[in-house]
């Protein structure tokens, strides 16, 4: 038995007559964010922790020039060369590397690189994956078959290997840089969006509202834009957040293998980590610890955020919170006997008198019983 009709019972007057511009504009966003506001328990904790870590990461990346004491590729300051493999000290809080770079500055600028690559990669793969998924899902036929084949082939590859191959090929064409790294990671993640979007498009295509749109005379392109897109896109933010963490680890992996961004172009944690391998053996912990920690934190932040969002949005995982109802003391119902033309004593209350005294006879004591 559904209660939807009841819970959505409109209250005339409570709604503004005529839309307020702001209300209209943010209506969709508010609907989208509503599950987040209603999150609780474990998903809520994950959302918050992940959100805070991600926000700090973003802040660090944006404010990198202000936070970092030096530039990421500086090996000297004011004509004074940095020490080689210097211990953490007052001037170099996290110490310096074998290339005389300041570790703190590298780590802080590394956040910027990671975020740039991550955003580019996620945006590219999202756009391409969603577009191809929509087309394949709605149109079907040979296009769908070919795309599924290609995507499955991509999916079957070990992702790092795929990124390496892509990075290798791309760096030959456009050189090594942030965009190259982003593009090689993009290829890895397109299949994920494609698969999810295609399957939701496939099921959305069978919905009555799509049929209704067809019956209205809508063109396929209109149907895809107006009827499929909005319904299919809902699972995408969750994947995007989950992929963000993954993208950072892939970038670090590429950097670690020396296939990512050149150290002179941008600071990159994976590269730094790789350079620090030899240091660890000689007891220099700082060159490896800080970039490593940064990688772990960044991935943790995005993963928590993604898992939290997944719990909140994914209906198969989302378990409805059980709110226990608490019953107020019952009110006895009055039971009377109709007696033809006879008044007086025939009206008798046969309810439970002990309980009847405790609550009012209207039986509508508004008790909030939604506590645990």
């Amino acid at each position: 038995m559904t209660q939807t009709a009841l819970t959505s019972a409109p209250e005339p007057g409570s709604l503004p007559v005529g839309p307020t511009p702001a209300g209209k504009r943010f209506r969709g966003l508010r609907r989208f964010l509503a599950p987040i506001r209603q999150a609780h328990g474990m998903p809520k904790a994950m959302l918050w922790t992940g959100g805070i870590i991600t926000a700090l990461l973003a802040l660090t990346a944006i404010l990198a020039p202000l936070i970092a004491p030096y530039s990421f590729d500086a090996y000297q300051s004011g004509g004074h060369q940095f020490p080689k493999q210097g211990h953490p000290s007052g001037t170099h809080l996290f110490g310096t590397t074998v290339q005389n770079f300041d570790v703190l500055s590298r780590v802080v600028y590394g956040a910027r690189t990671a975020l740039e690559v991550m955003i580019l990669a996620v945006v590219f793969s999202l756009i391409l994956g969603v577009l191809l998924g929509l087309l394949a899902g709605y149109l079907g036929g040979w296009l769908d078959r070919i795309l599924v084949l290609v995507m499955d082939a991509l999916f079957a590859f070990p992702y790092l290997l795929l990124a390496i191959v892509a990075g290798f090929m791309l760096s030959g064409i456009i050189g090594g840089g942030v965009v190259t790294a982003a593009l090689s990671i993009t290829i890895v993640y397109i299949p994920q969006y494609f698969r999810v979007v295609r399957s939701s498009a496939l099921s959305a295509r069978e919905q009555v509202y799509v049929e209704a749109a067809r019956a209205m005379g809508a063109k396929p392109s209109t149907i895809v834009r107006k009827y499929l897109f909005g319904n299919v896109i809902q699972s995408v933010p969750v994947i995007a957040t989950m992929n963000a963490g993954d993208a950072i680890s892939t970038l670090a992996g590429l950097g670690f293998l020396g296939l990512g961004i050149q150290p002179t172009e941008a600071a990159e944690w994976g590269y730094d980590l790789q350079r620090a391998i030899d240091d660890v053996n000689s007891g220099m912990w700082w060159t490896a610890l800080y970039p490593g920690l940064a990688i772990v934190l960044a991935i943790l932040g995005f993963t928590l955020l993604g898992e939290g969002l997944n719990d909140v949005y994914n209906p198969t995982i989302r378990r409805r919170r059980i709110i226990r109802a608490v019953l107020p003391v019952p009110t006895a119902r009055k039971r009377l006997h109709e007696a033809a033309g006879n008044g007086g004593g025939t009206g008798s209350t046969t309810g439970d008198n002990g309980k009847a005294g405790t609550t009012s006879e209207t039986g509508t004591t508004p008790e909030e019983g939604d506590g645990q």
């Binding site: 009709a5 009841l6 819970t7 109802a325 109709e338 019983g369």
Partner: protein, 365 residues
């Protein structure tokens, strides 16, 4: 099925036995928790079902009829609060543990669902379904006895014995529903709830199933609660009817009596708004059923009631046992009983309630 009504005891005083209710519900409440507060899906409901009797439970969606049907069997959803009394042969089902209820379900209490296909395992033959059900609750049965019992139950439902070893997908929708009914009845439960058993079926098949259910009460001692939104089905297959509105039973009584002379305004309005072959004009109830988190004060139907009086909005009407044998929870019947209307409403309580505003379509269901 008629062939096997040989109950072990001939029941010397048969009348005394059948007049005692097999299931008696008193002040049953089932409330769900929601973020906005508890939903009073079933709110203080009383009814009795006697052996061999069919009680029709009718109401619109959201009135709590399904919740009531499940609540009686101890199948209220998780988190729901249940209190009151469901007296089944001297035991209060509300106070039983989950395990105790589980043991009663099947041999004593049965449930027939709306969607037959989802309740049959597609990988199991019909014979295996019966074997499993019978062996679980009556482990002493031999293979031949299982087969005999199952075939007898199936025959009562019009399933040819030659189909006994078929799989569920080899049957049509109506046949599957009959198999479900046979599965529920093969253990000979004393009390069965059928929740919209014909909703998913075609008109003619629905009529066939109604016939089967109607025959059931004659040939069998099973007490049946038939939940439906279709008043025609109640008139066809039920001895008594209970009309639910907003979590309460507003009227109950002999089906013929209630349909011929409905007493509660909601029953009257519901009957009038039903489109039947004899409909000559369209009629509908204005407004929508109330939000059961905050139901209206007084009578829950008063905001939509064409006959509402001032007392209806203020005081909850009592259940009035009418001389016809029906019960109606309405002030129109209660007002004639001396002392029923509380003194503070004695002077103006009978005045018609001026509705504050016309109920607009904006509020319709």
């Amino acid at each position: 099925m008629s062939a096997h009504v040989t109950s072990p005891e001939p029941a010397p005083a048969g009348t005394a036995d059948t007049s005692r209710p097999v299931l008696s519900v008193r002040d049953l409440r089932v409330w769900y928790g929601t973020p906005r507060g508890p939903v009073r899906a079933v709110d203080s409901v009383d009814f009795d079902v006697r052996p061999g009797e069919t009680l029709g439970l009718v109401g619109e969606s959201g009135c709590g009829k399904s919740t009531l049907g499940r609540g009686v069997l101890g199948l209220a959803p998780e988190g729901a609060a249940v209190d009151g009394e469901v007296n089944f042969r001297g035991t209060n089902l509300v106070s039983l543990s989950k395990k105790q209820l589980q043991e009663l379900r099947g041999p004593e209490l049965g449930l027939i669902f709306q969607e037959p296909m989802t309740r049959l395992n597609p990988l199991m033959r019909i014979s295996e379904h019966f074997a499993e059900t019978l062996k679980t609750h009556e482990p002493g049965l031999t293979k031949d006895q299982v087969r005999e019992r199952a075939l007898e139950a199936l025959r009562g439902m019009g399933i040819p014995p030659s189909r006994y070893h078929n799989y569920p997908h080899e049957f049509s929708g109506g046949m599957r529903q009959r198999i479900m009914i046979a599965l529920a009845l093969v253990l000979r439960p004393a009390f069965v709830v059928a929740d919209e058993p014909t909703t998913a079926l075609d008109v003619l098949v629905e009529a066939q199933i109604i016939r089967i259910l109607a025959d059931l009460r004659r040939n069998f001692d099973t007490a049946l609660v038939l939940i439906t939104h279709n008043l025609g089905i109640v008139a066809e297959a039920c001895d008594r009817v209970a009309v639910m509105y907003a979590g309460r039973i507003v009227e109950q009584g002999d089906a013929r009596e209630v349909f011929a002379r409905p007493q509660h305004p909601y029953t009257q309005e519901l009957l009038r708004s039903t489109i039947s072959l004899s409909t000559t004009g369209l009629h509908y109830i204005p407004g929508a059923p109330p939000d059961l988190v905050e139901p209206p004060t007084g009578c829950r139907f008063h905001p939509r009631c064409p006959k509402a009086m001032k007392v209806c909005a203020a005081v909850e009407p009592p259940d009035v046992l009418l001389n016809s044998g029906s019960t109606s929870a309405c002030w129109h019947q209660a007002q004639n009983i001396a002392g029923a209307i509380p003194p503070e409403h004695a002077t103006d309580g009978r005045e018609p309630l001026a509705l504050a505003e016309e109920i607009s379509v904006a509020d319709e269901a």
